[in-house]
C-alpha cells in the first residue's frame, strides 16, 4: 500500500483535474444540450435540421477521434488552444449531443396541452419553451441526465490520451515508476467509483426534490 501513500499528491492532482474537467464539461454539455434540444423542437425548419445534424455528427464519431482531431487538427488551421481547454470544449460538445437527446425526450414528455395553453395565453414560442415546457421537461429527465453526468466523468479519462494529466494519466505515471499496476489502477478505479457514487446520490436527491406527480 506504500505505493499509494507515497504518491498521494499525484493521485490528488489527478483527481482534482478529473473533477474540474467533469464539472466544466457538464456545465458546457447542459448548455449545448438545452440549446440543441430547443432547436430540434423549434418551428424553424433550418434550426431543426441544424440541431439534428449536430446530434448525428457528434454522436456518430468516437470521442477519442474528436479529441485527437481537435488537438492535432485545429493547430493546422491556426487554432491553437491549450490541451485542457481543448479537452473541456470537445467533451462538452460531445456530451452535449447526448444531453440534447435526453432533454428532447423530456420536452416530448410534457403534454401537448401545456404548450398549446402557453401559446393561447399569448406567450411567444421562446417564452413558452423557457417558462412552461423546459422547466417541466428538464425535471422529468433528471435521472437520464445523471447517467450522462457519470458518462461524462468516465469519458474525461480520454483526455489522458491527449496529454491532460487527469486521474488515469496520473495513475499511469505512478505505475511507470512503481510497476504495480493492480494496486494503482484499483485505487484509480475506486476514486472514479466514489465520484460517480456522489453523482448518483446528488441525482437521486434532485429527482426526489423536483419530481412532478402526474
Amino acid at each position: 500500500m506504500n505505493v499509494i501513500t507515497d504518491h498521494l499528491s499525484e493521485f490528488g492532482h489527478g483527481l482534482l483535474l478529473t473533477a474540474e474537467l467533469t464539472l466544466l464539461s457538464l456545465a458546457g454539455a447542459l448548455v449545448a444540450g438545452t440549446v440543441v434540444a430547443s432547436m430540434r423542437v423549434s418551428p424553424v425548419r433550418v434550426l431543426r435540421a441544424a440541431g439534428m445534424a449536430y446530434v448525428e455528427v457528434l454522436q456518430n464519431v468516437p470521442l477519442l477521434v474528436w479529441l485527437v482531431l481537435a488537438v492535432f487538427g485545429l493547430p493546422e488551421i491556426g487554432l491553437m488552444t491549450g490541451l485542457f481547454t481543448t479537452s473541456v470544449v470537445v467533451i462538452s460538445l460531445y456530451q452535449g449531443a447526448y444531453t440534447a437527446e435526453a432533454v428532447r425526450s423530456g420536452i416530448n414528455a410534457v403534454p401537448a396541452g401545456q404548450g398549446e395553453a402557453a401559446r393561447a395565453l399569448g406567450l411567444t414560442f421562446t417564452q413558452s419553451l423557457r417558462l412552461v415546457v423546459l422547466p417541466q421537461g428538464l425535471r422529468t429527465v433528471v435521472q437520464p441526465l445523471g447517467n450522462i453526468a457519470i458518462m461524462t466523468l468516465m469519458n474525461t479519462a480520454m483526455a489522458a490520451a491527449v496529454g491532460v494529466v487527469e486521474l488515469t494519466a496520473a495513475a499511469n505515471r505512478v505505475n511507470l515508476a512503481e510497476a504495480t499496476p493492480i494496486w494503482i489502477f484499483v485505487t484509480a478505479g475506486l476514486a472514479y467509483m466514489a465520484l460517480s457514487g456522489l453523482f448518483g446520490l446528488v441525482t437521486g436527491a434532485l429527482e426526489r426534490k423536483w419530481a412532478i406527480l402526474r
Binding site: E56, F72, M80, I107, N108, A161, R173, A177, A179, F185
Partner: protein, 312 residues
C-alpha cells in the same frame, strides 16, 4: 412536436455517415507507405533464423520444455515500434530488433522460429508474465530494480538511451539541463518522464500516447523539446527533416527480456542463449538488420549479461 416523414428522417443520418466515412478514409490513406519505414528489409530475417542455434537439451519439467511441447513461443510485444517490433502492413510480418530476437529465442527452444506476439503495454507486462499469458516479454523493457521485484530479467540484450529532439531551427536545447523551465513532450508510459523530472525538475511534461502524436505536437509547438528513446527517434528523424536530434543519449537504458518472477532456471537458460549469439556474431547481425539500417558504422558492443541493476 416535430414530425418529419420517415424518408427525410433517414436521409440526413445516412448522408452524414457517408460523409464522415469518406473523410476518415481520406485521412488514413497515405499512412500505409510501409516501404518508407527503415528497417523493413524482410528477406534478411530468414538468413538470421537459418544461422540461429538450437538448444541441445532442455531440462525436464522446465518452462522451456512446456514451450517446446506447445510448439510456439508466446511473446509479449508491440506491433507499432519502428526498428524494434513493427508489423509490416503488406507482408504482415513483424520486423525489428525485438521481433528478430523473439524469433531466434523461439528457434533456440523449439527448433522452429514460431512466435505468437501478444500485444502488451507498459501497464500490463508484469501481469501478463505473472499469470502466464506470455512466456517472455520483448518490448523495449527497461530493467529497473522496482520492476525486478515482479519479473525476472534476462539480459540486458541491448542498451539504448534517451535523446532530446527539437524542431530543426531550434537552438539552445542540447543537454538535459537546458530543459529547465521548458515544456517537454514525452510518450505516455515511457521512462522519459522520470528522466526529465530528474534532469530538470521544473520542466513541464506533456504526454501523448504514441510517437507520431508526440512528433506532431512538437512540430505544432506544443512543447520546446521531445524526449524519447534513441532507437525510436532515429527512425523518425530520418523520415522527417523538420526535426532534429540534439546531442547524444543522456541516459543508459538497458533492455531486458522479461520472464516470470522466480524462474531462475529459464533466466539462466536465456542468458546462456544470449551469450551464445553474442559470441557467434549473430547479435551484431540482428542489430545490422534493424537499428543498423539507420545508424552508420558497425554494431556496438553488446551490454554485459547481468550488468544492469535488477538483472543480476
Amino acid at each position: 412536436m416535430v414530425r418529419t416523414s420517415a424518408g427525410k428522417r433517414w436521409a440526413l443520418p445516412v448522408a452524414v455517415t457517408a460523409l464522415s466515412v469518406a473523410g476518415l478514409a481520406a485521412c488514413s490513406s497515405g499512412g500505409d507507405s510501409g516501404s518508407a519505414v527503415p528497417g523493413s528489409g524482410g528477406g534478411k530475417q530468414d538468413d538470421l533464423v537459418a544461422a540461429a542455434p538450437v538448444a541441445a537439451n532442455l531440462p525436464a519439467g522446465s518452462t522451456m520444455e512446456k514451450i517446446k511441447k506447445r510448439g510456439e513461443l508466446i511473446v509479449g510485444g508491440s506491433l507499432d515500434a519502428p526498428l524494434l517490433s513493427q508489423q509490416n502492413p503488406a507482408s504482415k510480418k513483424v520486423e525489428g530488433l525485438d521481433a528478430d530476437f523473439g524469433r531466434l529465442l523461439a528457434k533456440y527452444i523449439t527448433g522452429k522460429p514460431n512466435v505468437k506476439i501478444v500485444n502488451s503495454a507498459s501497464e500490463t507486462r508484469e501481469a501478463l508474465l505473472s499469470n502466464g499469458t506470455v512466456d517472455v516479454v520483448f518490448q523495449t523493457y527497461s530493467i529497473t530494480p522496482e520492476r525486478a521485484k515482479q519479473v525476472a530479467f534476462a539480459g540486458p540484450y541491448y542498451s539504448s538511451g534517451l535523446v532530446i529532439t527539437t524542431k530543426k531551427d531550434k537552438t539552445g536545447i542540447a543537454t538535459p539541463a537546458d530543459l529547465k523551465g521548458k515544456t517537454v513532450i514525452a510518450g505516455a508510459n515511457t521512462p522519459a518522464i522520470p528522466a526529465i523530472k530528474k534532469a530538470a525538475p521544473d520542466a513541464k511534461i506533456v504526454t501523448f500516447g504514441s510517437d507520431p502524436e508526440c512528433v506532431q505536437a512538437l512540430k505544432q509547438g506544443r512543447g520546446d523539446a521531445y524526449v524519447q528513446d534513441e532507437a525510436v527517434l532515429l527512425a523518425t528523424a530520418k523520415q522527417d527533416p523538420t526535426i532534429k536530434i540534439q546531442g547524444k543519449p543522456f541516459t543508459s537504458d538497458p533492455y531486458g527480456i522479461g520472464l516470470k518472477h522466480g524462474d531462475a532456471q529459464m533466466k539462466q537458460f536465456v542468458n546462456d542463449w544470449l551469450k551464445q549469439i553474442q559470441a557467434s556474431g549473430l547479435w551484431a547481425k540482428v542489430w545490422k538488420n534493424s537499428i543498423g539500417t539507420v545508424v552508420e558504422g558497425d554494431a556496438p558492443q553488446p551490454p554485459a549479461i547481468g550488468s544492469a541493476p535488477g538483472s543480476e
